[in-house]
């Protein structure tokens, strides 16, 4: 078998059947990373010794006849904002460049409990703030389909690593689209679970009411497999939902005959690139032919999702990032030892990059006396109206379909001088986070320049089952997800 092209489930099956060793799968992943990472800059850190040690342990357990987990021997990459005890976590920031976490994130325990082999940490926008991966302190990630284009962000390294066949599975975090948007840009599957489905313990907080961890994969079935391993209530994260976790893989029946797909015509009418629009309409037509019903829905407040999102996420970020002060961990400025206050402000100025500072400033402003009601509280009220829009839409529809991004991936450097223009590109992804809903992006075509385009589906709260079933049924009738970038 070509282990690099294999899905996570077939790697696991081959290992369980003795056709492949976990060590071989691990070495193949490490070799692929070594051969492509100089072009992609997708990894901040590769821990080959630790990965090979874990893989050998899986092989030893198989030889001993022990029961292996659902991800046994599958190489996995983690976005560099999740903690693995003893493995550096930088959040692609100078302020955490040398931070070695003293504990494991819950997702790490669950992955490794299922037998997954973590190979390293992927590059991302600093503290997950960005839509192009250009905000990393360690340089941008390059799109495997065209190296002068963005891979999307903020989980660009994880998306690129899966697209470039370094690993069959990777984890990202999605605060306003940071899994779905890079998945679209890199031509892979990206799933943001419902808020509370997956524990955030050990994820470096950006905006706590919006952040959610989820998988990247090359197939919907692999994303479902990963979600089954990750999902569930966690005593270490009080925001995890006490909801039953179904067998997501069992839900993939291939049938959409009873499914109503909500199409927000007015919302997607403006500002969508013609190539993206054609791919979106074609994907809807594919699902209609497969037996799904298309129903028109109205999301009257969705057009406000970007300003609401940037008011809410920056407010939360300004509070969350107050902890980086040069005292407990991370960078401390050398030039300011006269007073504590001076040390704080110098450390933070030298340690944070421009986008992080911009968001801390914006968030501090909207929370400040005199502006709290007009901006922050107002945004939270419109967030309620947006949730009600979706509640109403889900009375008529089982899933809602949108493009993932308004344009195909753009060139590196094209939007870095205008943050507002960069933010506007998040129009189709941010509302899932504001409403807490699950969303998935699947490949649905390519631009004239050969860059991937994504199709997004959103589901009811905690109904990843229907979401994955529809996405999988779509994938079964198309071949976009089988294409490989030539590197």
């Amino acid at each position: 078998m070509n282990v690099l092209e294999a899905t996570a489930s077939s790697v696991r099956d081959a290992i369980a059947a003795g056709q492949l060793s976990a060590t071989e799968a691990c070495r193949a992943a490490l070799d692929q990373i070594a051969s492509v990472n100089a072009s992609l800059n997708a990894f901040n850190l590769v821990d080959a010794d630790r990965a090979l040690g874990r893989a050998q342990e899986i092989d030893r357990r198989r030889a001993a006849g022990e029961v292996l987990g659902p991800l046994a021997g599958v190489p996995v990459a983690l976005k560099d904002n999740m903690n693995v005890r003893g493995m550096r976590t930088t959040a692609s920031s100078r302020i955490l460049e040398h931070f070695v976490p003293p504990y494991d994130a819950t997702v790490v325990r669950r992955l490794e409990g299922g037998g997954a082999v973590i190979v390293g940490k992927t590059n991302c926008d600093e503290f997950a703030m960005g839509s192009s991966n250009e905000n990393s302190a360690f340089g941008p990630v390059h799109n495997p389909w065209a190296l002068d284009h963005i891979p999307g962000g903020s989980s660009g390294g994880s998306a690129a690593a899966v697209a470039a066949r370094c690993v069959p599975l990777a984890l990202g975090s999605d605060t306003g689209g940071s899994i779905r948007q890079p998945a679209a840009c890199c031509g892979v599957v990206g799933l943001k679970p419902s808020y509370g489905r997956v524990s955030r313990y050990g994820l470096l907080a950006f905006a706590s009411s919006l952040d959610q961890i989820g998988p990247f994969a090359r197939t919907v079935a692999d994303a479902a497999l990963a979600l089954s391993a990750l999902a569930g209530v966690d005593p270490c994260d009080a925001t995890t939902a006490n909801e039953p976790v179904p067998d997501f893989s069992a839900a993939l029946t291939g049938s959409v005959k009873d499914v109503r797909i909500g199409v927000p015509r007015a919302f997607v009418a403006d500002g969508v690139d013609e190539q993206v629009r054609r791919a979106y309409e074609a994907a809807l037509e594919t699902l209609r032919r497969a037996g799904a019903a298309l129903v028109d829905i109205d999301l009257p407040h969705a057009k406000y999702a970007v300003p609401v999102y940037y008011l809410v996420c920056t407010a939360e970020a300004s509070s969350n990032l107050a902890r980086y002060d040069g005292v407990k961990y991370g960078y401390r400025s050398n030039g300011a030892n006269d007073s504590l206050k001076e040390m704080y402000s110098r450390t933070r100025d030298e340690g944070f990059g421009p986008e992080v500072k911009r968001r801390i400033m914006l968030g501090t402003y909207v929370l400040s006396a005199g502006y709290y009601d007009a901006f922050y509280l107002k945004a939270l009220q419109v967030r309620t109206l947006l949730r009600r829009d979706y509640d109403q839409a889900f009375e008529r529809a089982d899933v809602v379909a949108m493009p993932t991004t308004p344009t195909p991936p753009f060139k590196l450097g094209e939007k870095t001088s205008d943050p507002l223009q960069m933010y506007l590109g998040d129009i189709f992804t941010v509302s899932a986070n504001l409403a807490g809903l699950p969303g998935i992006s699947v490949p649905c075509g390519f631009s004239n320049d050969g860059l991937p385009i994504g199709f997004q589906l959103m589901g009811r709260m905690f109904d990843e089952t229907t979401l994955l079933r529809v996405a999988d049924a779509y994938e079964r009738t198309t071949e976009w997800h089988t294409r490989t970038p030539s590197l």
Binding site: H98, F99, V100, Y103, Y195, G196, S209, A238, A241, N242, H301, Y304, P307, V308, Y310, L311, V327, K328, Y329, G330, Y331, R332, N337, D338, S339, L340, K341, Y344, S345, R346, R348, D349, P354, K357, R358, M361, L362, T364, S368, A369, G370, Y371, A374, F375, L377, K378, A379, L380, Q381, V382, R383, T384, L385, R387, P419, L420, Y423, A435, G436, M461
Partner: protein, 122 residues
């Protein structure tokens, strides 16, 4: 440390909306300096100039939310807020002092302390 009594006095040109709230239409460097002080960020002059323009652009765009009628609409700070999150108040294992201090830029593990520059009179 942020002084809780310091209300940022921001100098804006103001316009008045129908529900009687003041909204900024432009920011000055002085405003940016005050926000930076609240956020414990010592910005360079270049950053101050850049942020003055960029934050004004973003805020001008975000002002559109103020025209939406939200009378009687509750705020959503958190989507799963109805869930019960209490647990029994029982001590559990936690990080050791050595682990907790291991990443400190100026730790004093033998004393179990983080060292910081002078707090008073600095």
């Amino acid at each position: 440390m942020q002084n809780a009594n310091t209300t940022p006095r921001l100098h804006f040109e103001f316009c008045i909306l129908n529900y009687d709230r003041l909204v900024p239409t432009s920011l000055t460097i002085a405003d940016v300096e005050r926000i930076a002080a609240l956020a414990q960020l010592e910005l360079t002059d270049e950053e101050k100039h850049l942020f003055t323009k960029q934050l004004a652009d973003i805020l001008a765009y975000a002002e559109q939310v103020q025209a939406i009628d939200t009378s009687g609409v509750p705020a959503t700070a958190h989507v799963n807020s109805a869930q019960r999150t209490e647990r029994d108040d029982v001590p559990r294992p936690c990080l050791s002092i050595e682990d907790a201090i291991a990443n400190a830029p100026d730790g004093a593990p033998e004393a179990g302390l983080f060292r910081v520059p002078r707090v008073i009179g600095g």
